[in-house]
């Protein structure tokens, strides 16, 4: 019972019989599995973008479930910017082995060799080269006609308008004003040669759903999500992981801070948060108390109003 402002009591409605109720996680799971199976059946050459983060971990588990007892019928693709945390790369290789999936890794080697980083360039151009360009090159190189991504609609405003099957033209670009209508669970997978579809099986999951599912299903995730003392450059409220030498300012010394990462990206652009949450229930408890969105500690979305939409138009996930 919750007390209300005017002193009366708010009574929750009478529960329906348990037969008539399917928990939200089971429903989301069933829908995502349906999407994964549609893609595996309708496309010649699908691939799953595997970013090593919590959403990718959930997506990977759903793929295992969708095709059980068979293997996952498509490869995993990791776009490696060269700035991923070392722990992430080790985790990636171990997971791919554990689930028995083929793992492809693609790096924009010319850009990496040229010393591309978010301090030399701005974050927008750095992302453009190391993520978007690398992704488009990889999709083209392997001839993938469908690519799964772990993006969710609750992450960001332009993503809220994204389809589950998101059409991309021959250049891999998104046209938000010309999206295919998407009704019921009937997905239009028809493309002309060169065109492709990005598929988002977690579209309707929220950050809370993802954490609860990881907890219930005991899905392995990278240790960086759990709080422990870590060396950080402390700049006011911001904590910058000590991973790449160029991040440090002149004379700046790292401090040990009990902290964790709320979302995983490239180390120079992903801030950590002070936290004591070293278990999944604690992370979920912490999430309830948060007053800012998970991307707030990502540098990349803040550069410009609508920057996610611009990146997506160019071919970003």
């Amino acid at each position: 019972m919750l007390p209300t402002e005017n002193g009366s009591t708010y009574s929750p409605p009478i529960p329906l019989s348990s037969l008539q109720r399917v928990s939200h996680l089971r429903l989301l799971e069933a829908e995502s599995i349906h999407i994964l199976r549609e893609v595996a059946s309708e496309f010649e050459r699908p691939v799953m973008l595997y970013s090593i983060g919590k959403d990718s971990s959930v997506m990977l588990r759903l793929a295992q479930k969708a095709f059980f007892p068979g293997p996952i019928p498509f490869p995993l693709l990791h776009i490696d910017t060269g700035f991923k945390f070392q722990e992430m790369l080790a985790f990636r290789d171990a997971m791919a082995r554990a689930v028995g999936a083929e793992l492809l890794v693609w790096r924009n080697e010319p850009a990496i060799a040229a010393g591309t980083n978010p301090i030399v360039l701005d974050t927008k151009r750095c992302c453009g080269l190391l993520k978007t360009q690398a992704l488009l090159d990889a999709l083209k190189h392997y001839g993938f006609d469908a690519a799964f991504g772990g993006a969710r609609r609750d992450e960001e405003k332009s993503r809220a308008k994204e389809r589950i099957f998101s059409f991309r033209d021959g250049a891999g670009q998104w046209d938000p004003k010309n999206q295919r209508p998407e009704l019921w669970n009937l997905y239009n997978s028809r493309v002309h040669p060169g065109e492709s579809i990005r598929v988002f099986p977690l579209s309707n999951w929220t950050e809370m759903d993802v954490w609860q599912y990881i907890h219930e299903e005991e899905i392995p995730i990278v240790d960086l999500y759990f709080a422990k003392p870590r060396p950080m450059y402390v700049r006011g409220e911001a904590l910058l992981p000590v991973e790449q030498a160029f991040v440090a300012r002149l004379g700046e010394k790292p401090q040990m801070v009990r902290s964790r990462l709320r979302s995983l990206g490239c180390s120079p652009c992903t801030g950590a948060i002070r936290s004591d949450a070293d278990t999944l229930p604690k992370i979920i408890g912490e999430l309830l108390s948060f007053r800012s969105s998970e991307r707030a500690n990502r540098v990349i979305d803040h550069d410009q109003e609508g920057s996610m939409e611009i990146k997506k138009r160019e071919g970003y996930f």
Binding site: T4, Y10, R26, K65, R159, W184, A296
Partner: protein, 564 residues
């Protein structure tokens, strides 16, 4: 008056907060989907903003990013939270469907937030297609506007079970009970029409609200003592979601055959309705072969029983030839298998419905070529049916569909999954139309073949009626005109000049017969036996354009798309 935003502690993370108890509660939560539609000033954004804000579903940085922006003055302009695309922010309108998520201690919610303008009917239909409930906003000062009727109609047509009429801005009519009652009765009479026309009867709920002041949104307010129903959020928390789908007949469209090795053949799909147990006798459609369920296989271990909407994999006792697109039912509870049916259509493509174009019909997990012939259109403004063979983008009609292969299907009102389909333009791959099966038609192909082809069928096929056009014009204009018609896909023929009988015969066969006579510098066109004669002057290009316009105005050509 400033927007008083008070946040009740629905997720009170206080000292006595127990994460285990929270997770236990979360496991019990189900999911309700609802759609909303509305335009700039009817308070839709404010209402959604209030639901999100009052249930603590908006983060501080998101609120911070819209503070001081937009058109709501010192108040938060909630539209900025929901309008995610640049074009929308620039134009200040919602164009595309946006999905929003929030939860209460009892339930999780997905909002499909859709635009309310007529030109975005397809977006409204998209949002309604998966919704358990729809909120139709009515401005208490303005009453039931065409836009509210349109949204209610689309929600009804798409089988949304609960329509919640939120009579908003009640504060601006001094919470007048009479105003509310008159809107209610007007809406009810339209709802009766929508139910009769669409074949679906949703349950109606009426709530007087002030989204701006939070009256009857999260809790029932003292401002409306004459109202004895629940607040909007209370209603949303108590509406049934998947009730009935487990006790409905079992339907499993096969999506994928899982064959890791010779000894295992699993049929994977998401149960559309009903319940299945190990040992149950099943029928495969359309083949009609039967077997029994051997195992219900999942990653988390075999199940004895599974029900909608779970995604499962079944193995059968017998080796049957089953592939993607087949439907599994319980033996004795089979659906109809047919090639012909009547369906409601919502057109979604810039290219109008055209009987001569090739369409692919996607139904459950199969895609089959289909022919589509429009029966009539529905004019929502006047609540009437109107004849026509063309369905433009964002219009609604009823069509007869014939698929190349038989498919297992049901009426949409009986089963939302087995009765729904989309039409894909085979050439452009655009998702062109959304359809809902109204009635399965007799599938006796021989009876259809034996009937004489009617003038209507010919006209439907060619996109125009058979008619003789008598043109008096210089031969250059006549040639250019014939070429333009040909390019437009018209079945145009030009018999020898001195033949008196052929034109009539060809016209009866459905052709557009062009009889041209050299005519100096003036041009005249006589259509059929009618005297719709017109004199046209000018250069060739202009003359041809005028002739085409004249054909359209006289309803010889049905629409313009084909002439591009």
């Amino acid at each position: 008056m400033a927007c008083a935003l008070t946040q009740p502690d629905l997720h009170d993370v206080g000292t006595d907060f127990s994460i285990d108890a929270f997770l236990e509660r979360e496991r019990e939560k189900d999911l309700l989907r609802f759609s909303t539609a509305g335009s700039v000033d009817d308070g839709k954004s404010t209402l959604i903003g209030r639901l999100l804000y009052d249930t603590q579903s908006v983060y501080d940085d998101q609120v911070l990013s819209i503070r001081g922006k937009g058109t709501a003055g010192p108040q938060l302009d909630f539209a900025l939270l929901t309008d995610g695309l640049r074009a929308e922010r620039e134009q200040g309108i919602t164009i595309d469907v946006a999905y929003r998520y929030f939860s209460t201690p009892r339930r999780k919610f997905i909002i499909a937030d859709t635009p309310g303008h007529e030109q975005y009917t397809r977006n409204m239909a998209t949002g309604a297609s998966t919704a358990d409930a729809a909120i139709v906003l009515v401005d208490a000062r303005k009453g039931v506007l065409p836009q509210s009727r349109r949204h209610a109609y689309i929600a009804t047509l798409l089988g949304v079970r609960h329509i919640i009429v939120a009579v908003n801005k009640m504060d601006l009519v001094d919470y007048d009970a009479e105003t509310f009652a008159s809107i209610r009765s007007e809406f009810e009479s339209f709802a009766r029409y929508a139910a009769a026309e669409s074949g679906h009867t949703p349950e109606l709920h009426f709530i007087p609200v002030s989204a701006l002041l939070g009256v009857n949104v999260v809790r029932v307010s003292d401002e409306t003592p004459w109202y004895d129903g629940p607040a909007l959020l209370e209603l949303l928390e108590s509406l049934p979601t998947t009730v009935g789908s487990e006790i409905a007949p079992f339907r499993l469209p096969i999506q994928h055959v899982i064959r890791p090795h010779q000894g295992f053949r699993g049929f994977a799909g998401q149960i559309a309705s009903g319940t299945i147990r190990v040992g149950d006798p099943v029928t495969v459609l359309p083949s009609g072969r039967t077997s029994r369920v051997e195992r219900i296989v999942t990653y988390d271990g075999d199940l004895d029983v599974a029900h909608a909407p779970l995604s499962v994999t079944l193995t059968l006792e017998d080796e049957l030839d089953i592939s993607r697109g087949d439907l599994l039912t319980l033996a004795g509870e089979e659906t109809r298998v047919a090639r012909r049916f009547a369906a409601s259509l919502v057109w979604m493509d810039g290219r109008s419905l055209d009987a001569s174009r090739r369409y692919l019909l996607k139904h459950t997990s199969q895609t089959v070529p289909a022919e589509v012939r429009l029966r009539h259109r529905v004019d929502l403004e006047q609540s009437i049916r109107e004849p026509g063979r063309v369905l433009e983008m964002n219009t609604i009609g009823v069509a007869e569909i014939e698929t190349r292969r038989p498919i297992a299907l049901e009426q949409y009102r009986e089963n939302r999954t087995l009765g729904a389909f989309v039409l894909i333009d085979a050439e452009t791959n655009a998702t062109a139309g959304a359809g809902m099966v109204r009635e399965v038609l007799t599938d006796d192909a021989s009876a259809v073949d034996a009937r004489p082809v009617t003038a209507l069928e010919r006209a439907t096929r060619w996109g125009h009626a058979g008619v003789v056009l008598r043109l008096k014009a210089p031969s250059s204009v006549a040639n250019a005109f014939e070429r333009a018609l040909l390019k437009a896909g018209v079945f145009v023929v030009r018999p020898p000049d001195d033949d008196p009988t052929t034109p009539g015969v060809l016209a009866a066969a459905g052709a557009l017969v062009l009889v041209a006579e050299e005519g100096g510098h003036s041009i005249s066109l006589r259509i059929g036996s009618s005297r719709a004669e017109s004199l046209i002057h000018g250069e060739t290009t202009k003359a041809v354009a005028s002739l085409l316009r004249l054909l359209r105005e006289s309803n010889v050509l049905h629409h313009q798309e084909r002439t591009r």
